[in-house]
């Protein structure tokens, strides 16, 4: 009696198993560990959408030709932004799902231990975004990162300042650092100090402040009296608003304000700070108005499909799928050794990679994309709203726009 009750399930199970086996021969599984719930879910879902769109395109175009037109198949698993969950999911994807390549995990804190697991299994791991330097600095053989790393952010801020000084013939002597006193801000300040020393700037103010401060007037008074030419800032959203508004109200005049994404890139910052945010230079990974071929069309397609525009994270995720396609095409095999060899030899230029702010993906010995760079946007008023306009590097600057440097006095 009991046997008959179980029978249909057994039949279904066998059917499913055989189905899975039949598919496995001609699909290549890509495991993706990204935050699909929890605090970073919104970026995780952006990455998921971008991957799906890329894989749809690749499969529609005939899949991987050197593997007999094999199709790519995405396997998603939710890290919940939790390192432990990430590691467990990586084990599951490698051992039970038998994926051929892994990507992820957005949160640096998750990527760090997950890449370690991948390394242990010899599984190629592609990191679209995760900025912590050490992810590619542990001598791992299977970890490849597309995005720029942490220390390159501060490097590019100073490079940008050098270029601006040259372009506009303006001299800068005094610099000020104002940053939130968390991991992120303090880390940035450390690098800023080194860079300022190398380039011979005088640091007139080096001020950490608590991100939860209810009043930042004291910091702004100090900044005003410091006679700084350029201010470097690292802020979360709430304090970015408070600082920007207070600086405008107290008429702090500097030649330029250079910020580090984060709170300054938050959409609610522009809304709340309004005109006070004008002329700020903000460093980000990517911006939708980059002067790149094909970007507009891809962005339109993505927006039509998912109802919002591409962002730095989703573009990196999108490009990573094309990187995987290119690698498999050249490897002609799904064996980890062959994939790894092809990854090292990567020299992927133009095409869909051209959506990024730089031309090519090439990895150095540590597995870091050596071409990865960042862009700087300037915030300007357009009509009633504020707009972010890409200004640096010069080859991606929005056509017909000249940045304002130094910024006019308030």
């Amino acid at each position: 009696m009991k046997f008959f009750k179980v029978l249909p399930f057994l039949a279904l199970l066998t059917a499913l198993c055989s189905f899975g086996q039949a598919e496995a021969a001609e699909t290549i599984k890509i495991g993706n560990i990204i935050p699909l719930s929890g605090p970073s879910a919104s970026v995780g879902i952006q990455g998921k959408n971008a991957r799906e769109m890329a894989v749809e395109e690749i499969n529609a175009a005939g899949g991987i030709k050197s593997l007999g037109g094999a199709k790519l198949q995405l396997v998603f698993s939710d890290s919940k932004s939790d390192p432990t969950t990430g590691v467990t999911e990586a084990e599951r994807l490698i051992n039970s799902e038998k994926v051929h390549v892994l990507t992820g995990a957005w949160n640096s804190a998750v990527t760090y231990p997950v890449t370690q697991t991948a390394e242990r299994y010899g599984m190629p791991f592609i990191v679209p975004v995760s900025v912590r330097d050490t992810i590619t600095e542990r001598g791992f053989k299977n970890v490849f990162r597309i995005a720029a790393k942490d220390s390159w952010w501060t490097r590019d801020q100073f490079k940008f300042l050098d270029d601006m000084k040259k372009e506009f013939g303006v001299d800068v002597k005094n610099v000020a650092f104002v940053y939130e006193n968390g991991d992120w801000g303090v880390g940035f300040a450390e690098k800023w100090r080194e860079m300022a020393k190398e380039r011979g700037y005088k640091v007139v103010l080096d001020e950490p402040y608590p991100s939860t401060a209810s009043d930042l007037t004291p910091v702004v008074i100090k900044l005003k009296r410091s006679k700084a030419d350029v201010v470097f800032m690292t802020s979360n959203a709430a304090d970015a608003i408070l600082l920007t508004n207070t600086m405008a109200e107290m008429k702090v005049n500097v030649k330029a304000i250079i910020t580090s994404g984060g709170g300054h890139a938050d959409p609610s910052f522009l809304k709340a700070a309004g005109k006070n945010a004008e002329y700020i230079f903000d460093l980000v990974e990517w911006e939708a108005d980059l002067n790149r071929p094909g970007l507009k069309e891809t962005n339109e397609k993505f927006t039509k499909k998912y109802g919002y525009s591409l962002a730095g994270e989703s573009v990196d995720a999108y490009a990573s799928m094309y990187l995987i396609k290119d690698v498999l095409e050249r490897a002609g095999s799904t064996k980890p050794e062959a994939v790894r060899k092809a990854l090292i030899e990567t020299n992927l230029c133009g095409g869909t990679v051209g959506l990024l702010a730089y031309d090519c993906i090439q990895f150095d010995q540590s597995g870091q994309n050596k071409n990865a760079s960042l862009v700087i946007v300037q915030i300007r008023q357009k009509g009633k709203d504020m707009e972010r306009i890409t200004v640096w590097p010069k080859n991606v600057r929005r056509a017909g726009y000249t940045p304002v440097f130094p910024q006019p006095n308030k």
Partner: protein, 294 residues
Amino acid sequence: MIGYVESVINGILMGSIYGLTAVGLTLIFGVMKVINFAHGSILMVGMFAAYWFVTLTGVNPYLALFVVVPFLYFFGFYLQKFVIKPIFEAEKDIREPITVIIVTTGIWYVLDNLALLLFGAEFRVAKTVVSGQMLEIFDMYFLWSKIIGAGVTLLLGIYLYWFLRHSRMGKAVRATSLDREAATLMGIKQTRIYNIVFGLGCACCGVAACVLVPFYYVYPTVGVPFDIKAFVIVVLGGLGSVPGAILGGIIIGLIETVGAQFMAATWTEMLIYVFFLFVLFVKPSGLFGLKQDY
């Protein structure tokens, strides 16, 4: 030099606004002996009310006082009547009503998450006529909205002082605060006094909210940074003392602003707590506190 003068004045201005956020807390504690953990959330409710009133009608933000303050008075009045009072009555025979504290914590979470659900996590700034308007003296800049805020604080302090000293209702409130049983025997209806006091405490938050909205942003957890300061201020100034709360606020504002001119801004927070511990050590009842066992 001019930087220090500017800091001192800005410290007093911001400090009196901190004091304003603490007045309601000290009032409720003084009379009901209840630590209202929902205080910051009630401030947030007031700020959202003021924000929407100003944004939708486009009137002068200080006119919002006439709408937001009565709204928050009744909000507090009925919150006490329907949520807190039943707990109080259940614990009538217990000297330290602990559950009430837990209930106020519950209200805090409910209000914050309700706001998150209704308005989202984004930061909103009300565009008003006084926003960004500065008073400029000798290259020193003071925000008009803070100057008005400090003025409002002073007026509210004077009014509350007069109310508690000289009005009939104020005398009843003080009597209840001194000895609730004896006051009941004298014919004062304790629960009604509690409703009114809780309403008044919340109305004070409404005043603070209207003063803050012209220069501060609004979001669902906006109460938290003010909440923590308010607790320190109330203990520093003396539990239950209205002038103590305002003075305590000014002291905190001064430490924060002037202190930051001599050290990194992150250190001033520590300085506040060091000063706070020092006062508690020297005068455990706070600066204006009575030698009374709460």
